[in-house]
């Protein structure tokens, strides 16, 4: 592709921020959001008055409980932002679709500095009822509609069940095993041990994994991410504002947003992969780099199998080969050829829902990841979010 047509290269990530992260913080989610937003603005070397764009996912939602801690209106009014462009919504190529939109907004001149944020408080909102409180059907009058019409009557309300069926098909076609899949969770846990903000940091062994409570075969408890409280923010700026910024920004090299398969968990053409297939292919078509150039990969793990699908979609291993690729954990370790989910992912780091991967990718490229910093000065990172019919990806490079 002609580089002049890859307009997202006019965008950079100029700053990142994050609130406290934890299980049941009991904090006002708008307060968490403001913490993350001010942190990101300061990190970029900007002031609130410099922010002229605002983007978020998914916008205001009351259900599931804690799924959305703040919307555009909340943040714009709290900070009295004067906006030239904004967007907030859920029908996007994953949570990071909102960041992709922000890249295009600065590329086209609609804004110079877009503040992007995502806030969850699912742990606090669910309280001691756990995920059962997030399930629909309170009251016998509730009737399923939309996509849920086709799954709820069959007692399949959770993405755990839907992802489990993709994993099972992958196991069937390619001989993938639980012992292999385990390494997504085990790798996340060993990285979380080095992340002071991670929600689960205690050591976990393969035996711990294999003896954990089964949720929906082949996925056990440790294949499912941990509902958490926290807010993550990034500032996306026009590349030509670099002189105004506190530090050399992270360059957006290419993005991927495609969805060619059907937008459905059960009608998708190939049940061994997901929308990540299309988004990743598009990202590489727009890139001058290849999978071999990537130094660190931060890829969605709402459920462990989703990361396996991303590994294959991105070409880090062949189709159907993610099992052998991750087996034993060496290839995806911090000191391995493809450090993966270096903050502990969502499985052990906490379910920050997509934005955490972008935050960590930038942290690694800036060399600010502390004990979990990937060695040898990483220059190229992938941040990818979404599972099932949702997928969005960014290829990031350190500015020279």
């Amino acid at each position: 592709m002609d580089p002049n047509d890859v307009l997202e290269r006019r965008a950079v990530v100029s700053g990142i921020g994050q609130s406290a992260v934890g299980r049941r913080l009991g904090r006002d989610p708008l307060g968490l959001t403001i913490d993350a937003c001010l942190d990101a603005i300061t990190d970029a070397g900007l002031t609130v008055a410099d922010i002229d764009g605002l983007a978020t996912y998914p916008g205001p939602m009351d259900v599931p409980p804690g799924f959305s801690g703040a919307g555009i209106v909340d943040v714009q009014d709290a900070l009295r932002l004067e906006l030239d462009w904004y967007t907030g919504g859920i029908e996007l190529p994953s949570q990071l679709g909102s960041v992709i939109d922000a890249c295009l907004a600065v590329a086209t001149g609609l804004a110079r500095h877009v503040l992007c944020f995502r806030t969850v408080f699912e742990a606090t909102a669910q309280g001691d009822k756990g995920r059962a409180s997030a399930m629909p059907g309170g009251g016998s009058t509730f009737r399923a509609h939309g996509f849920m019409e086709w799954v709820l009557p069959f007692a399949a309300p959770s993405a755990a069940i839907w992802v489990a069926m993709f994993a099972q098909r992958h196991f069937y076609e390619f001989g993938t095993t639980r012992e292999q899949l385990a390494w997504i969770a085990l790798n996340a846990r060993r990285n979380a041990a080095l992340n002071p903000k991670a929600v689960y940091r205690e050591a976990m062994t393969l035996d711990d994994y294999l003896s954990a409570r089964m949720i929906s075969t082949p996925l056990c408890l440790y294949d499912c991410d941990a509902p958490s409280d926290g807010s993550t923010a990034v500032v996306v700026s026009r590349a030509d504002t670099a002189a105004d910024l506190r530090k050399p920004p992270i360059s957006v090299h290419a993005v991927g947003s495609a969805l060619h398969g059907r937008p459905s968990w059960d009608q998708f053409d190939d049940l061994t992969t997901m929308a990540c297939r299309d988004a990743a292919a598009q990202m590489w078509e727009r890139a001058d780099l290849t999978a071999a150039d990537v130094d660190v990969a931060e890829m969605y793990d709402g459920f462990s199998f989703i990361t396996m699908a991303w590994l294959e979609a991105m070409g880090f291993c062949g189709k159907g080969e993610s099992g052998p690729f991750v087996d034993g954990g060496a290839s995806i370790a911090l000191d391995g050829p493809l450090p993966l989910n270096t903050q502990g992912g969502q499985l052990s780091g906490g379910r920050l829902h997509g934005y955490g991967f972008l935050h960590e990718a930038c942290l690694q490229l800036w060399g600010d990841a502390g004990e979990r910093q990937v060695p040898d000065d990483p220059e190229v990172a992938v941040a990818a979010a979404g599972g099932g019919p949702l997928a969005g990806a960014l290829l990031l490079t350190r500015s020279r």
Partner: protein, 147 residues
């Protein structure tokens, strides 16, 4: 099947677009929309054929046979429902290329469920509280075809 034996189910919201699907069990029919012009089966139901853009789509009864494409044995109590563990599956409908259903597999122990096994529809009837005069909502579950 007696109502007392039925597990709690969240029922679909019945509309003019989907009624043929959720009530077909009353006459033992699993039905999908089919394009009169080109024969394409369309699911979930929409008022246009994605192949030829024809607008003449009508419910068409298939045999109720299907193949198990993938499944999971669910052990977690997400909500009131069938007794744990229960099998959720995606099945491919024999005469309707490209059409799948998410469903439950019944009439077989979860341990014996296998990808590729032939299935046939087994409707589960539920009274419709929004339309008590009707015969209710008929959920298409599937059971092994060789039982």
């Amino acid at each position: 099947m007696s109502t007392a034996a039925l597990p709690f189910r969240i029922l679909p919201r019945i509309t003019d677009r989907n009624r043929f699907f959720w009530t077909g069990g009353e006459v033992g029919e699993l039905r999908f929309l089919r394009c009169d012009d080109c024969g394409t089966f369309v699911h979930p139901p929409v008022p246009v054929c994605p192949t030829c853009l024809g607008r003449s789509l009508r419910p068409h009864a298939v045999s109720g046979r299907a193949v198990l494409t993938t499944f999971t044995v669910n052990h977690h109590a997400w909500m009131p429902g069938p007794e744990l563990p229960y099998v959720v599956a995606i099945v491919d409908i024999d005469e309707a290329p490209g059409v799948r259903l998410t469903t439950n597999i019944v009439g077989v122990e979860p341990d014996a469920v296998q990808i590729g096994m032939p299935l046939r529809v087994a409707f589960e009837q539920h009274p419709d509280p929004d339309d008590p005069a009707s015969s209710g909502v008929w959920l298409p579950l599937f059971e092994p075809a060789d039982t």
